[in-house]
Amino acid sequence: MAVSGFEGFEKRLELHFFGDDPVTVDKMGLRLLDFESLEHVLHAVQCTVVSAVGNHFFDAYVLSE
């Protein structure tokens, strides 16, 4: 196999959800996922969180493979 370097081109996945319970959806919805659950998901993707920030609208995480 040709010697390969680090693959820059990303894979991008966007998932949309809807909820019957207006409280969950209007307030925080997926943002209620605890960090342990997020880490479980990221473990499946071989990633870890190296930096995080959030505001009124959403949470943003920088990941490392």
């Binding site: 370097g5 680090f6 909820g19 019957d20 190296v50 995480y61």
Partner: protein
């Protein structure tokens, strides 16, 4: 790589040889525990530089689509996979979308209305070597990833792409950089692999047809100027003619000539326009 979590939307964007699609099943499970049900999925990627290095289920697009379909619930019945071509053989845009009927009535009611918000995904290769070198940590530099990342952000002008955004950045050893910008309900993100021979950078942001149309033009210009790439592809999720013609306007002053433009419709998920540009001197 980046993760963005909204109340009803989650976006994961990873580079390298990660098995991104393996996140679908656990995410659906945890969201269900919160009373949330999946109603839409969009998977996109360019063409890998090292496709043979990709593990299952990413060894080819057909295998990715099969894997996604096997992990989606049946209510997402409107599905489409498409490989959007360009005139550059190693530049295609791979798209898979799936939606459930609860979204279709909305979309069907306004089949040709311009999508209000849109996502712009920019992929850049053959970066300017001097500019790419700015994304290497200095030998013996004891700075943490955070502080080295902050230094790179300021040194390269990435903080000027959207001066109103709060930036969360990180530099990797010995090279490489990722940043997320947050500005109200809008994210932006930059990922850089600066190694010569396979240098790559991406920029992604969200726009709206109600924005001042020069906003997206200026943003894209500044983002591409950071890297001065020889080849750029831009994918926009908008059926507004205005949006993707503006993308081309943003590239021309940078000496980048449009070489291809492909458009495709995805049921209950809207339109995607895929454009490629190369340095006009070619």
């Amino acid at each position: 790589s980046s993760l963005f979590v909204y109340p009803t939307k989650i976006i994961i964007k990873t580079c390298g040889t990660t098995q991104l699609l393996k996140s679908i099943r656990p995410l659906i499970h945890f969201a269900n525990n919160l009373g949330l049900t999946l109603c839409g999925c969009r998977y996109t990627r360019g063409s890998f530089i090292f496709p043979k290095s990709q593990p299952f289920p990413h060894t080819n697009f057909k295998e990715e689509v099969i894997y996604v379909e096997e992990n989606l619930p049946n209510n997402l019945c409107y599905r489409k996979a498409s490989v959007m071509p360009s005139k550059l053989p190693s530049y295609s845009w791979h798209v898979f979308t799936a939606s459930d009927q609860t979204q279709l009535p909305y979309f069907a009611l306004k089949p040709h209305s311009p999508d209000v918000t849109f996502t712009v995904e920019v992929c850049m290769t053959e970066l300017d070597r001097l500019l790419a070198r700015k994304f290497y940590k200095k030998a013996g530099d004891s700075k943490t990833g955070d502080s080295a990342g902050k230094e790179m952000t300021e040194l390269t002008g990435i903080d000027n792409i959207n001066p109103g955004a709060f930036i969360c950045d990180f530099a990797f050893d010995p090279c490489g950089y990722s940043m997320n910008g947050i500005d109200g309900d809008r994210y932006s993100t930059v990922h850089v692999t600066p190694e010569d021979g396979y240098s790559y950078a991406s920029f992604e942001c969200v726009g709206s047809i109600y924005d001042d149309q020069d906003d997206i033009v200026e943003t894209l210009k500044k983002a591409v100027q950071v890297f001065k790439p020889a080849t750029v592809s831009v994918s926009t999720t908008s059926n507004s003619h205005e949006v993707w013609t503006r993308v081309a306007h943003a590239m021309e002053p940078l000496g980048l000539k449009c070489r291809s433009c492909a458009m495709d419709e995805f049921p209950a998920a809207g339109t995607i326009v895929f454009q490629t540009f190369t340095a006009a001197r070619r």
